[in-house]
Symmetry: C2
């Protein structure tokens, strides 16, 4: 419904593999000092000097991770990069490079690949990462995007998932749940569109939610903010699969339990309104939604005063001894077990 059906279409087969790669990468510039050699050889060459290299990879499959019916290709490219950069930020590292591999079925004309690549290049510019390599090939069905993100950090700055201690405070950046609710809005509009293609959707009331779904941002800013506050988190993860799933990862890998307070989970006012409209429970959405790309971390209680009142952060709970288990303390002050029901690329149902 967001696609322009009248665009000019060039068959990518007319360019061939090397032609397509040349075409897509011709204007790519290198800005990171650590990139000695980017695209154009058997491999890229990077120099991290005294810093450590941090590396993460994601595979995104059409029909599993995204639906092009409401995800414009440019946004998809941007989001794919942001999601990978987010993993680097979750190590308290600075993203520096990405590689981008694409597999495309023959239904994609060159103009579609260009649009996708525009989003990728825009995100690379915004996050200041060099595109240093990749692969472009055919697929039997749909679009597949594989991105590897690379970053750098001083060894002492790196934060793992495993360092949380009992009594540490559990902190989240930004607000949670909006991206998933944006997806629900878009899914509903898709159904309306399928029934009546001439219907013009009025999405005014949903702009924030839709933006969170279609153009999420990695929290590259958090590393610097924490540095200025002189805080090093004890453990950190990014929220890609839902708050509950990520909290359980931190607990499992740190060997701790936790109490999460329902009334502390930050939700945007628009999310609150739209949850009412959809008759959905906001806590369920926040816990299980995913794709927020906010950071979830733990800090020592001694650091509490440094973040108190800071609009970037919300304390949503605290860690406990492992034997105490992982719990959600509800608004009614009942204690229920925290379960991971977050998004799963290989469904358990």
């Amino acid at each position: 419904m967001l696609e322009d059906k009248n665009q000019h279409k060039t068959n990518i087969e007319s360019l061939g593999e090397f032609g397509l790669i040349d075409y897509l990468t011709k204007n790519i510039e290198i800005s990171q000092e650590s990139t000695l050699k980017g695209i154009g050889d058997d491999a890229a060459v990077l120099d991290f000097k005294d810093k450590k290299a941090v590396i993460s990879t994601d595979l995104l499959v059409e029909g599993v991770h995204f639906d092009l019916a409401y995800m414009p290709l440019k946004h998809l490219g941007y989001k794919a990069v942001a999601a990978n950069v987010s993993d680097i930020c979750a190590m308290n590292a600075t993203p520096t490079q990405i590689t981008v591999s694409l597999a495309l079925s023959n239904r994609f004309p060159l103009e579609a690949v260009e649009e996708l690549y525009e989003g990728i290049k825009l995100a690379a510019k915004i996050y200041n990462v060099d595109i240093i390599g990749g692969d472009t090939t055919s697929s039997q069905k749909g679009l597949i995007i594989s991105i590897t993100a690379i970053g750098e950090a001083n060894l002492n700055d790196i934060v793992y998932r495993s360092g949380a201690q009992p009594n540490d405070l559990l902190v989240v950046t930004g607000d949670i749940g909006a991206a998933y609710m944006g997806l629900q809005v878009l899914e509903r509009e898709k159904q309306v569109f399928l029934v009546n293609p001439n219907n013009q959707p009025d999405l005014e009331a949903y702009t924030y939610l839709i933006e969170r779904q279609l153009k999420p941002e990695a929290r590259k800013d958090i590393k610097e903010i924490l540095e200025k506050l002189e805080i090093k988190p004890t453990a950190m993860i990014d929220i890609s699969d839902g708050l509950s799933s990520e909290i359980l990862h931190l607990c499992k890998q740190s060997g701790v339990g936790c109490n999460l307070y329902e009334d502390k989970i930050p939700g945007d006012p628009q999310l609150i309104n739209v949850c009412e409209e959809f008759n959905l429970d906001i806590t369920t959405i926040a816990l299980n939604g995913g794709e927020d790309y906010e950071l979830l971390f733990t800090i020592s209680t001694e650091d509490y005063d440094k973040i108190k009142g800071n609009p970037n952060f919300t304390v949503i709970g605290h860690m406990t001894e492992e034997k105490e288990g992982t719990h959600l303390i509800t608004r009614a002050n009942t204690k229920i077990a925290l379960k991971a029901r977050g998004w799963n690329a290989i469904k358990e149902e």
Copy 2:
């Protein structure tokens, strides 16, 4: 035809995404000093100290890059790693780590994924690279494998595609064309099998060719051999898409021309016999076949005495001034233009 149809099948959906990743990666060990943190966090952490990091990525799609009718999954896993490691070797670097992402349609039971992973793990062991991350997800159709290989090298050791000079000798490791011919044999047997599934193929005469196709090896040994000979190539590339295509890459990026001598191109005796059987021209196969994963490099004429008579190397031509063009000198001593007709994941036809 190489698949055991009676194997026990476990649905991967019963494990879920994290369960599958845990299951596949539970026995993975780290052996590289540069791997500070492998699988299990938002990103892996690597320390290359004074060395440079080298990084390359490939995306392999079922039905485009491989056919499971004759490619056993274990071999496929092995080959996917070897092909990526080969890119690191082509930089004259030492492979150290890989990430492995898989997308699988629901026709793959857990046992199939395990078999694929066994091949991946075996190759990781043989090439001494740590598996440090990846992603596992569903696909709408078929199997997709995305591997990123990482290596390390001293800055002075790294060899690019762009350093060849006029008069440099063009050298190839091993023999060329067998992998492609192995594919032709397997394609023929597949057709026979489709007509008569009870036919037991006699592949005795094709063992080397089939092994080159199903279990190619990256030339990780060459770096050390060259070091002992005190040779640093002026330019290097690996042969994945066919000899002619790779020579043209070297010429283009080095700004030189070349003369390639048909009678010098090394072919295995089995390849010669089978080319006769199939009524195919061996030079065409060598030039355009691909998937040999041998290394192609240039050296200064001063180094010629060091490799003369060395069974690992064959001098197949020499570089010229760019304006002289790129040529094949045939056995009949005629000079014809060298053209890239190698394998292309996005067909130009």
